[in-house]
């Protein structure tokens, strides 16, 4: 398995943006970033039981003068919708990095409805949506999204395409149902 270096570049972009709290629901696509966050003593990495906790955490952090970022999979976006009213009402920034499922070579049909709904649902809730499909554009996009979120105090989601992460492999070849 190759190890693309964009997750390390994204981590560096978050550090440059002075992010001090990284909240996440574990996802394979974010694994490297989660490890880096836990290893860095200048960051607080917070594991969540459900994604909307991270929205409230980020607003609380902002109240205390600290920047937070939130990592999740597209399935978790659906859990966040009402909580997105919190940063919107408070004019607090929110930066979400969302690894996509249910779009590119998806094996698991249960991922498809939320994966296909992710971008329109986020937009309907007032979140600005960026999408990265090439490894080279991820870190610059995260840096721009961070600037947009923290400087203009809006909610921004960067969707990391499934083609970038790679479709999850569940079965060996020859096991076609």
């Amino acid at each position: 398995m190759n190890t693309p270096d964009w997750p390390d570049q994204v981590f560096a972009a978050l550090k440059r943006a002075e992010v001090r709290q990284i909240a996440y629901v574990p996802d394979a696509g974010h694994a490297r970033l989660i490890t880096r966050a836990h290893e860095d003593p200048s960051l607080r990495a917070v594991v969540l039981t459900t994604e909307e906790e991270g929205i409230a955490l980020a607003t609380g952090a902002w109240l205390g003068g600290v920047r937070a970022a939130l990592l999740m999979q597209s399935s978790g976006v659906g859990n966040c919708i009402n909580m997105l009213s919190l940063p919107a009402n408070c004019r607090a920034p929110l930066l979400m990095l969302v690894t996509m499922r249910g779009e590119w070579g998806e094996f698991n049909p249960w991922q498809v409805p939320m994966g296909q709904a992710t971008a329109p649902v986020l937009r309907a809730a007032g979140v600005i949506v960026h999408r990265a499909t090439e490894a080279g554009e991820v870190a610059p996009m995260v840096a721009a999204a961070a600037a947009l979120a923290y400087d203009s105090r809006v909610s921004v989601a960067v969707l990391l395409s499934q083609s970038l992460i790679g479709a999850k492999q569940f079965v060996t070849k020859g096991a076609t149902p």
Partner: protein, 192 residues
């Protein structure tokens, strides 16, 4: 058992010695109760985002480890975000207290019984999540003990069992941007 606690009197006693406590409230009556003690810049009231109060407290407590943070919320609001009790315990924050005003009903929507009316034990859930100090109080002496404990350096989860029934509403400001900016200004956070 003595008469059930009046929620306004209980919250007034809880916050009587609040000094510079940072206070976040869950939507509904918990916000009105805290506002009734006197609006101040260190109060952050949720008017929505149900289930989010405890996690707002965690983000704030992690951001300001030198300050004491207390979340005052209701049983229904806490029930909607129970996972936060696990998340906060695992985060290992020392300067956060959660106080649940438990009237065993959804007061804003017609007083329908909540899960705590059916003996769901929030303090036991917090204890099971690993909270260091968990209490359930139902009398004035308990509230006084809790008011002092709020200032101690350890995570604390407490349920105050209060009488059901609505009090006259004391409405705090409800513009989230105003509340946020006022709170940050009080903490001396420079705005660009």
């Amino acid at each position: 058992m003595s008469a059930e606690l009046d929620r306004r009197e209980a919250v007034a006693a809880l916050l009587a010695g609040r000094r510079d406590l940072l206070v976040a409230t869950g939507l509904g009556s918990a916000s009105y109760d805290v506002a009734a003690c006197g609006d101040r810049a260190e109060n952050f009231y949720l008017w929505g985002a149900m289930g989010g109060a405890a996690m707002v407290g965690l983000g704030l407590a992690l951001a300001r480890p030198e300050r004491r943070v207390v979340v005052v919320t209701g049983d229904g609001e806490m029930l909607m975000g129970l996972g936060a009790l696990a998340t906060i315990a695992v985060a290992g924050v020392r300067n956060l207290a959660i106080v649940v005003l438990d009237n065993r009903s959804y007061g804003e929507t017609g007083a329908q019984p909540s899960h705590t009316a059916h003996d769901v034990d929030l303090a036991a859930i917090a204890k099971g999540c690993g909270w260091e100090r968990t209490y359930t109080f139902a009398d004035e002496a308990g509230v006084d003990q809790l008011a002092r404990a709020l200032h101690h350096d350890a995570p604390l989860f407490a349920v105050i069992r209060i009488a059901p029934g609505e009090k006259p509403r004391v409405l705090p400001p409800r513009d989230g941007a105003f509340l946020t900016q006022r709170f940050r200004a009080k903490l001396g956070i420079a705005e660009p």
